[in-house]
């Protein structure tokens, strides 16, 4: 059963069907190092999107003739689980998934120091568990975290976000309804430090002015998500540090207190 077209995507107050403002992101939850067996992994929830990313490598290329003598090969698989959509999706890779695998790979590759690991392969897997529009962007955001978590050297954390047009308004971070019934979708991936754009696609129609406005909005969205990416990495590693160091402080204070008691007695 496909979704019914809502009467309005943006109401009179300028609020969207999920209650967001025009330039507001969906709530995002990011987690790093969620899988035991992969070298690096990350999980993202962006609105109703739920996506896992896993990274293996660098490892020896198999078969050997595919290896590049001067840098690592990056392989990427974007895949939607059969239960990720409203009607069951055939688990075989579709034309769309093959294309997205390619563009995700191309958007991540400029950030990775592939030349440090000649003759090797880096595998990136993006598994969409639940989709609600904008999964390629969420997937790239999670994949960049997974690559960083795998300890692969990066120039920057790649981050992606979409903007588009719904009911004639330029909106940030489209959900499924806005993607399906809106007028345009513009996914953007970038390296936030230099502002280099590594992915730019558009379907639908935008005028020159609208395009510029949407692009700038998407870049703003990317910067917000980038801050969350850094936060997620910090949470994973700094918390361990603080907990470990605090226990020492706690133990020391207990010791001091005991000594004081002993002295009084």
């Amino acid at each position: 059963m496909s979704k019914v077209k809502p009467e309005k995507l943006v109401d009179e107050k300028g609020l969207r069907i999920d209650g967001r403002k025009l330039d507001q992101l969906r709530p995002i939850k990011l987690e790093v190092d969620v899988l035991e067996n992969a070298d690096g992994s990350a999980y993202i929830e962006q609105g109703k999107n739920k996506i896992l990313a896993a990274v293996y490598g660098p490892k020896e290329t198999q078969p050997k003739h595919l290896a590049l003598p001067d840098r690592a090969v990056i392989r990427c698989r974007y895949h939607m689980a059969p239960f990720s959509t409203q009607t069951r999706k055939n688990p075989a890779p579709s034309r769309r998934e093959i294309e997205l695998s390619k563009i995700v790979r191309e958007s991540l590759e400029p950030a990775i120091f592939t030349e440090l690991y000649p003759r090797t392969t880096i595998d990136v897997f993006i598994e969409v568990l639940q989709s609600d529009g904008g999964t390629r962007c969420s997937g790239i955001t999670a994949a960049a975290l997974a690559i960083a978590d795998a300890g692969i050297p990066l120039r920057d954390l790649v981050v992606a976000c979409a903007a588009g047009k719904a009911d004639g308004h330029i909106v940030l971070d489209l959900n499924d309804e806005e993607d399906q019934f809106g007028q345009a979708d513009l996914p953007v991936a970038m390296l936030p430090r230099t502002g280099e754009i590594t992915l730019l696609q558009m379907d639908g129609n935008l005028s020159h002015g609208e395009f510029e406005k949407a692009l700038n909005l998407a870049i703003e969205g990317c910067k917000q998500i980038h801050a969350m990416q850094k936060e997620a990495l910090k949470n994973e590693y700094v918390l361990v540090k603080e907990v470990a160091e605090e226990t020492v402080v706690a133990e020391e204070t207990v010791k001091v207190e005991k000594e004081e008691e002993g002295g009084e007695a």
Binding site: K59, A148, G151, I152, L154, L157, P192, R193, Q229, K230
Partner: protein, 243 residues
């Protein structure tokens, strides 16, 4: 010329570390006048070199490194060894036995067989060729007893400690032989399985908390705690004599 971090600050890839007259060290890169981090880790400064101690990373072979690997295949003149790195290593017969060895008359598997764990040294490696091993030096060769565990290679310096302080602490406190491979594989062999359990527990704690300060004290506290909890009296008495 500015430095943009405090010592041991947590950084993520793309974070700017310094600008101007600094040298980019491990896990950093230069873009124009600025230096950025390329891995997750803790930023540090040594003289004019800015570097990042990575929390995770794979092992890149280095000539002279002591490593522990596993034989995964045999060729007509040697073995292929998995050394927990992106590149598999080669070990030829001439680097395994000193005497003449006729590969046509004697089976290679009489020296090392598939599945054997080896202690070895890297004697050659560059970008174009895989690493080459030797097991001829003293103390190298097949591992016959003990247990091997694998930890993140970037945490090996922490496990060894300053001038071996951490690993020496483990050795004396747990009464185990501990051989630390630069590739993240660690061989532990003690007189009882309980001693080995204790050493493994401590090593895993070091791995999990490698990026924290005051680790040596915590590890020694942990070992003493566990000794009492597990009733390892023989270990206790021995360290009691030494301490």
């Amino acid at each position: 010329m500015t430095l943009l971090f405090e010592k041991n600050k947590f950084v993520t890839p793309g974070d700017q570390l310094a600008e101007g007259d600094f040298i980019p060290g491990n896990n950093t890169y230069r873009d124009g006048e600025k230096i950025f981090a390329s891995r997750i880790g803790l930023a540090n400064l040594d003289g004019k070199t800015v570097y990042v101690v990575a929390v995770k990373g794979c092992y890149v072979p280095n000539i002279g490194d002591f490593i522990i690997g596993k034989v995964i295949d045999m060729t007509t003149s040697g073995w292929i060894v998995d050394i927990n790195s992106p590149y598999d290593a080669m070990l030829s017969v001439s680097e395994a036995v000193e005497r003449q060895f006729n590969t046509q008359r004697d089976a290679l598997s009489r020296i090392y067989n598939i599945g054997d764990l080896l202690m070895a040294k890297i004697i050659a490696y560059d970008r174009t060729r895989g690493p080459v091993l030797t097991t001829l030096d003293r103390g190298l060769g097949k591992i016959t007893r003990g247990r091997v565990i694998s930890i993140t290679p970037t945490k090996i310096p922490r496990l060894i400690g300053k001038k071996g302080s951490m690993v020496n602490l483990l050795k004396t406190e747990t009464n185990c032989y501990i051989n630390v491979g630069q590739n993240g594989m660690v061989l532990i062999s003690g007189s009882t399985p309980e001693d080995e359990d204790l050493a493994i527990l401590a090593i895993l704690k070091i791995e999990a908390e490698a990026h924290t300060s005051g680790l040596t004290e915590r590890i020694s506290a942990l070992i003493n705690d566990m000794k009492i909890k597990r009733g390892l009296t023989n270990v206790q008495s021995k360290t009691g004599e030494t301490g």
